[in-house]
Each structure stands twice: as C-alpha cells, then as structure tokens.
Symmetry: C2
Subunit: 215 residues, 2 copies
Amino acid sequence: MSEHEISKAVVKRLPRYYRYLGDLINARVERIPSNELSDMMNVTASQIRQDLNNFGGFGQQGYGYNVKYLYNEIGKIIGLDKTYNMVVVGGGHLGQAIANYVKFEKRGFSIKCIFDINPELDGKMVRGIPIRMTDELPRFLRENDIQIAALTLPKSGAETVASVLVENGVKAIWNFAHTDLDLPEDVVVENVHLSESLMQLSYDLNHRRTMEKKS
Amino acid sequence: MSEHEISKAVVKRLPRYYRYLGDLINARVERIPSNELSDMMNVTASQIRQDLNNFGGFGQQGYGYNVKYLYNEIGKIIGLDKTYNMVVVGGGHLGQAIANYVKFEKRGFSIKCIFDINPELDGKMVRGIPIRMTDELPRFLRENDIQIAALTLPKSGAETVASVLVENGVKAIWNFAHTDLDLPEDVVVENVHLSESLMQLSYDLNHRRTMEKKS
C-alpha cells in the first residue's frame, strides 16, 4: 500500500490509537511493548505494526513504542497539530451538545458560532458561543475563515445549507442530517447517521443468539 | 458466506438500503431495476445483489425489485418489525437530543425514561419522557423490561452504569461515552464516538490534496 492510499479502515483506527496512547500518558507510562498495547486495545500486535507501517512505522524492536512520541506523531497524522474554525448549523439539542463538548476545543476545533432558523434562539449563548440566524451564515463563513461545519439540522434543510457552506469555502462537513450529501470532490464529509447506528444495534440484538450458538 | 456469518460491512449497509427504499416508497415508486437503485445509492448493482443474497436475495431478474416488499424484508432483518423498550442514561444535551428524536419511536424504539445524577433535572420531562435519578435505575430496568440503553454520560461513569444495565437484563448498549466497554459476550454494543468521528474528518481534510492529485 503506497503512502498516498491509506485504507479507510486504518484511518478509522487512528483515533482509537490516539485515545489509548493519551490514557497511557495520563497513567505516566513512557514506553509500551507492542504486545501490551495489543492486549489493551484488543487487536493483534501484527495489526498495530501493519497500521503504523502505513505511516513509516514508529516501533523500536525489543524496546516497544515511545508513548509520547507515538501519541504526537499520530496526532500530527490526524491533523491535531493545527487549529480549525468551525460552525454548527442547527441549534437544537444535538447542535448544542456538540457546542458544549469542551474536548473538541482542546483538540483544536474551535466552534465560532451556531446557526439556526428559529428566531427564539437568536442571540442565545451556548458555552460562550453565540447562536445567530442562518441568513447571516454566508457572510460569517467568508469573514471568519471557517473550514469545518457540523450539520445538525433536519434532512430537509441539509442539502441547501451544504451548498451555502461549499460556496463560502467550507472544505469539511460533519453531517448529522440523515441524508447523503452531494458535494464537490474537494469537500470531505463524515456522516454520523444516528438512526442507522441504532438499526445496527437492533440487528445485532436480534442476531445475538446466532453468536451465542457459535461460541 | 453462511447465513450465520453476515459480515459487519453488509450489516452496516442494511440501514442505508432501508432509508433509500423508504424514500422510494414516499415517492410512490413500486418497482426499481437494480441498476437504477445502484445509481441512486452510488454502489454497484453487483454489490447490491451480493448484499441481498446474504439473506436469500429478493430480486426478480428483468423485473427489478419490488420496493415495498424489499423495504419490509430488510426491516425484518434489522428487527424493525418488533418494538423495544429503551432508557437513556445521561440527561445532558446529547441524551435529550436522543429523547427528542420522534423517528426512533416510529421505528419501534420506545424511550421509557431518562436517568441522570443531577438533582436539578429530577422530574423534568423531555417530549413526555421523565428524567429520574440514576439510583432508581436498577429497579426501573427490572420492572419495565428494558432491552436497550443509550449511554450519553461522561467516560468516567460509563463502566459502572454499564454493569448496572447488564445486571438488570439490558442486552444492547448504544454507547456514546468515549470509552470501550467491557461487556459479557451476550450483550451487544454499538459505539458512537463523536470525537473519533471528528478526527476522521480532520484526517480527510488534511489528506484532501492527495485525493485531488489522484483524480
């Protein structure tokens, strides 16, 4: 696999490595053998080696991984060494929940404003972040160099808002609306479809007996 | 692939089929050729056939799929022909956002109660669903035949609450807490780690130029 074609599956695992390494730093662990990291994360040591080899590999045979170094390097690969300006479009409970996550801010994702069409929310503050009306969105995007937008509004309004975002320079959309957005090639999207996630849980619950039979 | 070992990738696609077929029903489409469904969903017709063949296949060569029939059959596979009693543990914005999704209720997921440790929330109602204190959780679970619990509380409290859920008969956990839960084999879990999802978006945003180069 060339360095320009990292599989989606590997990318999906990077934040999990980052989380476990962060926990190790908090526990003041400086070095960890790949087999211990593997036990902790419940993946094989060879999987870990393969994943990290996509990025040049960070292991030192016999000495294990330097926790802090690996944490920082994975952080850089993910892009956590930079800061991002974000907006949230949709000021309902989900939008407010996202605005309330202090953790995102710590990782460099700075939420500058929340937008909604409900006039009752106009001017309200969520953790110091103002809610403004959606008609002010285009101007705000242009004037505040916004790179990322979270879409936490109903399906019906999502496509229109996505166009406005793209026209005004947003390059990454975190889409919670239950629809697949039609976006230009240079705009990246990450979908969080909650009802599809609940349906997967339902499937697993109903096919659980099969799993019991197997074991 | 035997019918008892449907891959996770196939299961992940089922809710998306279900969504598109639901949209077709709303648009009063009765029958759809596999190539049209494939164009609409942006997957190959052969992928669709393979996926559905895992469940016996539902196509009629030359006539396409019967939309309503396929919708209902996929619904049954997912388990949407039944109803489920649910609780939400964690009454913050995210928990309240989930309680507010009327759509879940329509699909058969009935949220009976929200639990929190904050006394200020005690007795509050969210869309007719009461918030109660977490110390009442074990008794409530036993008395109300709860099968599914959403965990929308901080990482620190998640493992303890998960034990209480499991001890009192909950068989499916929808985990929004940013930690991997250690659960018995017969309990299914679906993780929604929002910060990991945002990190994937960040990765994609930062590796976007590579994608442009390729095209």
